[in-house]
Symmetry: C2
C-alpha cells in the first residue's frame, strides 16, 4: 500500500463529526467511540484505490470513503444490540451499547447513517466533486445500504435462523449483507473520480466478488479462529444456530470458493488501464486474512 | 386545502417502497405498516405548499415530501422501541415492534431512513428536479435530521429525564427534536421548486416557529387529551418524569406561547409574493388541534 489510507480516513472521520461541545455530547462520544474503534478500513481503502486508479485526487475520495465507513460502522452498532446479535464485544472492545447504553447506541447508529449522507453532500464535498458525483454517490450508497441491499441481507440472516437455509438463500444473504457495501465502496471510488460507466462496472464486479469471498472467509474464521485473534466471540454463528457457507459446504469447499472468487475479482481489474497490482494483492490478502 | 396532498403522499410512498415479493418481505411489510399508519402528513403538506408557493410543480415536490415523511416515520418506529419510550401504541395501533418484533422494527427504521435519501436521488427525481436541487435536498434533510438536529434533540430529551431541566434546555430540545424536521420540510419545498435564498429563509423561519409551537401543543395535549383522542397513552411524559413546557410554565402560559409563535410564523410568510392564505390558516389550525 503506497499510502496509509486508513490513517487518512481516521483523521477525516474525526473531522466530519460534529463538535462534542454540546448538550448531546454523549451521542457524539458514542459515534466517535465506534468510528475510532479501528477495524481494517477495507471499504475506505477500496474507495481511495479505485479513485486513484481512475485518476482522481485523494481530496475527491475522502468524503466518499468516510461515508461508506460511517454506514459500515452504524450497521455494526445496530447489529450488536440485544435485539439483534446481542454481542458484548466488537473488535476486542465492549460494544457500543455496553458503554453508552442501548438508547444512545441506537441513536448513534441512526446519526452515523444520517451523517454519511450529510458528508457526501456538504458544501466542501460538492465544491470538490460537483453535484452530479455527489448525487450519484448518495444514490449508489443508499441503494446498496438499504432494504434491497445490506439491510435486506440482515433480514434474510434473521429469517434464516434455525431453518437449515439452502445455499441459494445463503448466497443472496451474503451478497446483500456483506458484498453490497463493498461493491458500493468500489463504485463510489470510481464515481468520486468522475470515471466512465465501463470503469464503474469493472469496479462493481471486483467488489461483488471480493465481498462474497470476504463473508465466506468470515464464516470460516468464525469456526477456526480464537476469540483473541478475531476480537469477538468465535462460534457465535453456531451458537445462534445460523446456517453458514461452512455449515453447508464444509471448510475445504469454502476455501476453494474464496480462491475462485478472488481470481474472478482480479480478472475484473483488466477493465482498467492503470496499474492494478496493489488492488490485486489486496484481494489475495483479504482471502488469506486470519482475523 | 385545495389539493389532497396527504392522499398524493400516501400513494407515492407506497410506490417508493421496494416490492415485497422477496425474501425480506417482512422488512418491507414493516416499513409499509408504519408508512401507511396515517398521521397528519404535516411535513409533506408543508413541502407541497412551499413548492407551490415558489411556483414548483406537484411532480417536483413528491420525492421531497415522501423523503421527509420517511424520516419522520423511522424516528417514530425507533422512538417507540423498548430501549427508548417503550410505547405499545402509535396512532391508536400497535407500534411497529409489537407487530414485527424488535429486530425487524429496528431494521425497518434504518431502511426508511436510508430510503429517504435514495428517493431524493433516484433517476426520476434527478430528471425532474436536477442534481443541484437533489444534492441540496440531501444536505438539508440530513443536517436537520442528524446528530445536531432531530437525533440531537432526542438525546437531550433522554438526558434531561429526572433532571428538572430548565427552560433553555427545553427550548433547545424542542427546537431540535421537532422543529428541525418541520423546518426541513418547509425549506425542502422551496428547494424542490428551485426557489431563491430569500424564499428559503422565509420558509425556514415559518417552519421553525410552527415547529416549536407544534411541540408545545404536543406537551399540552399529553396532559389534557384522552388516550382515544390522541391515539397514544396520555400522560406518558409525566409517567417518564420528563420536564416539558407544561410542567415548567403551566398550561396557560404554554397556550400563549403557541399563539405568539403562530403569529410570528404567519408574519414570516410576507417574504413570499404569492397567496399565503392557506399556509397561514394551516398554522392556526395546527395551533388549535386537539390530537
Amino acid at each position: 500500500m503506497s499510502k496509509d489510507y486508513a490513517k487518512i480516513t481516521e483523521n477525516a472521520l474525526t473531522n466530519y463529526l460534529p463538535s462534542a461541545d454540546c448538550r448531546e455530547k454523549k451521542l457524539i462520544d458514542a459515534m466517535a467511540y465506534s468510528l475510532e474503534a479501528g477495524g481494517k478500513r477495507v471499504r475506505p481503502y477500496l474507495v481511495f484505490s479505485f479513485n486513484s486508479l481512475c485518476g482522481g485526487s485523494e481530496e475527491s475520495a475522502t468524503a466518499f470513503a468516510c461515508a461508506v465507513e460511517m454506514i459500515h460502522t452504524y450497521s455494526l452498532i445496530h447489529d450488536d444490540l440485544p435485539c439483534m446479535d446481542n454481542d458484548d464485544l466488537r473488535r476486542g472492545k465492549p460494544s457500543n451499547h455496553k458503554v453508552f447504553g442501548e438508547n444512545i447506541a441506537l441513536l448513534a447508529g441512526d446519526a452515523l447513517l444520517t451523517l454519511a449522507f450529510e458528508t457526501l453532500t456538504n458544501e466542501k464535498t460538492v465544491k470538490i466533486c460537483g453535484t452530479p458525483a455527489c448525487c450519484r454517490g448518495v444514490s449508489v450508497l443508499s441503494k446498496y445500504a438499504g432494504a434491497t441491499g445490506m439491510i435486506g441481507g440482515q433480514v434474510i440472516d434473521l429469517m434464516s435462523e434455525n431453518t437449515n437455509a439452502p445455499i441459494e438463500v445463503l448466497r443472496e444473504m451474503d451478497y446483500k449483507k456483506t458484498a453490497c457495501l463493498i461493491k458500493a465502496a468500489c463504485e463510489l471510488g470510481c464515481i468520486s473520480a468522475g470515471a466512465n460507466d465501463k470503469q464503474i462496472k469493472a469496479a462493481s464486479e471486483f467488489g461483488e466478488c471480493i465481498g462474497i469471498a470476504f463473508q465466506i472467509q468470515d464464516d470460516i474464521l468464525d469456526v477456526t479462529s480464537s476469540d483473541e485473534e478475531l476480537g469477538k466471540p468465535v462460534g457465535s454463528d453456531a451458537e445462534n444456530s445460523k446456517s453458514t457457507y461452512v455449515s453447508l459446504l464444509g471448510i475445504e469447499k469454502c476455501r476453494e470458493l474464496v480462491d475462485e472468487l478472488t481470481k474472478k475479482a482480479v480478472n475484473a481489474l483488466q477493465g482498467f488501464d492503470g496499474d492494478t497490482t496493489e488492488l490485486g494483492d489486496f484481494a489475495y490478502k483479504l482471502a488469506k486474512r486470519n482475523k
